[in-house]
Symmetry: C2
Subunit: 348 residues, 2 copies
């Protein structure tokens, strides 16, 4: 058993700790999210946190109708042109709070008197220091290099911020739904770990793709990143429309494609593309409770229970983490020591 | 000689036609880009046009300090929640103008009385019909499936819109720089085509990566997409920071990495990561005029001349197109009939 396995298993507890600590103290974020002059949100993030930022695009968009721009930090670091942020709320997501390029985006907000929120595991970090408000993740330092607990807690943090944009009964319902997450994540982990190892038959693959849509578009990116980091297999994330716009040409007989398909509004489109891929001879791996997808997949992770649609990404990513760790071991790699990776990347 | 080769060669003429037709008529866009209440830009696009949208993020950011949000059309199509667009200018980029999800984003703008611009090759398309203003690309219908002329003209269209945000001498200088592009693109095509075929030694690869930064981040995506579409080789685009945040673990001995490195502010960082990759045994292919990069690369495309930094993407993509076509032929594929692709993708 690796550190990574331990940390995957500790995710429900990490989520529960985070929610218990922060739900009672949400008041400080409400004025920022309910500001009538708020026009859009800028999210600055890298790596796994960037996949959490992709979730923010959908959750703020679908629940608050707020557009989200992902920051392009190199306009500051390379071109020395900080963005004009009138009308924006800036959110920086960084586990360590020490990525200089993420810090620079929140510095631009501070220079312009715009509000910002640091989502970080280190309330003493430079990112926290420059932010108007800090939303700490409350996770005892992650020991494995690949982010798992920090990823699901970053998602929960963004969902929590989104809930601050709602009022009255809607806000209370959102909090209740969030509080229901930990036991669901627990059940999915228990199920994924107890099933026979699905990755061993893929030990010799060079490539795969991961497909998700809407709230779970970022999940596809995160699972692909975990597979690349841990196993060295090249994994490409796609939404169904992006795949149809070209790259489907590169997918042929026996090509492994993982489909992230909770039972929500994205399911019909995912069934459709899964069927197309199956007809082209793809070897499908599904993360779903849907019987049709289980029927056409070569391998399937079950989702024994499912939260409300906007919270599914905290659940669907888990079988992907388990698969990535299994695949690493099947290929003789050590999931705790991925080649060429360090925990903090101080990008220039 | 394929249709694709012809169309690659016709790019300078297409650019010149587009610029000749549209530079004299830019006045209609100036009020939209100079509106003091403009807070940010939303760009809606798919496929190659989405790579042009990535360019928009950098060019509007670095030259006008305007944040750009890439639209996530499925908040409308899947979740039925059109974004609130106060403060936004919406730009839709679609060669055909017939992607329903791109049209839906401009419809949201129209419903809310917000301005929008359609960048399209079909002024009679549904996208053009719903937009406040149309910027047509003026290209006789592209015959090959893979977009080349429409891609560089879409980039030029976005650069032209960006120039409308500047005033006086700065605006005139930008127009002059744009008008200088066609002969530079011409010289780069002539050079890339006359050099010996660089792709033949890569005929048996399964994977590669393409790296670019800043204005050329989108170029890395576009070259990777061309390689995937035309040759079936899995090509992954990265910025240097994104590569260092994980996926570098999957890059080992002999792995082909293409580096898009014009001589601008992105060059020092690209030299650095190219050196790191070279030490890890990567097989580097560079698109650059830089002697250091030529020295450590296994294969190199020259850039005999180079426009101003913000216009380099219309030049650097060309050797990538040539490489993708060469690679397709080296693998026995027909560049004019990529497997599984059609010109218009009507995503649901």
């Amino acid at each position: 058993v690796s550190l990574l396995d331990d940390e995957i298993a500790e995710q429900p507890e990490a989520l529960a700790n985070f929610l218990d600590a922060e739900i009672p103290a949400l008041g400080r974020f409400q004025p920022l999210l309910r500001d009538p002059d708020l026009r859009y949100v800028v999210v600055a993030a890298r790596g796994s946190s960037d996949n959490a930022a992709r979730y923010a695009q959908y959750v703020f968009g679908a629940r608050l109708r707020l557009p989200v721009a992902l920051a392009v930090p190199s306009v500051i670091s390379v071109y020395k042109q900080p963005p004009r942020l009138d009308g924006a709320l800036v959110v920086g997501v960084s586990q360590s709070g020490r990525s200089p390029d993420i810090v620079s985006v929140l510095e631009a907000a501070a220079d312009q008197g715009r509000p910002s929120i640091a989502v970080t595991n280190d309330p003493g970090s430079p990112l926290a220091a420059v932010a108007s408000e800090v939303l700490p993740l409350h996770i005892p330092a992650e020991r494995s290099v690949a982010a798992t607990k920090t990823y699901v807690c970053s998602l929960a943090a963004l969902a929590l911020l989104c809930s601050c944009g709602a009022e009255g009964a809607e806000a209370r319902r959102a909090e209740g739904e969030l509080r229901g997450l930990p036991p669901i994540v627990e059940s999915v982990i228990r199920r994924a770990v107890s099933e026979r190892d699905l990755a061993s038959r893929f030990a010799h693959i060079e490539n795969c793709a991961v497909i998700g849509r809407g709230f779970n578009y970022g999940t596809a990116y995160e699972i692909a990143l975990k597979i690349k980091e841990l196993s060295g297999v090249i994994a490409e994330p796609y939404s169904p429309p992006d795949l149809l716009h070209g790259p489907i040409a590169a997918i042929d007989q026996g090509f492994p494609v993982m489909v992230v398909a909770p039972e929500d509004a994205t399911l019909p489109g995912l069934r459709e593309i899964a069927e197309t891929l199956s007809e082209r001879g793809s070897d499908l791996i599904v993360i779903s409770g849907d019987a049709f997808l289980h029927g056409i997949a070569g391998s399937a992770f079950t989702l024994p229970s499912q939260p409300q649609d906007w919270l599914t990404p905290m659940v669907t990513v888990v079988p992907g983490q388990v698969f990535a760790a299994q695949l690493a071991r099947a290929r003789g790699a050590d999931p705790d020591h991925p080649v060429g990776l360090s925990k903090v990347t101080e990008t220039y």
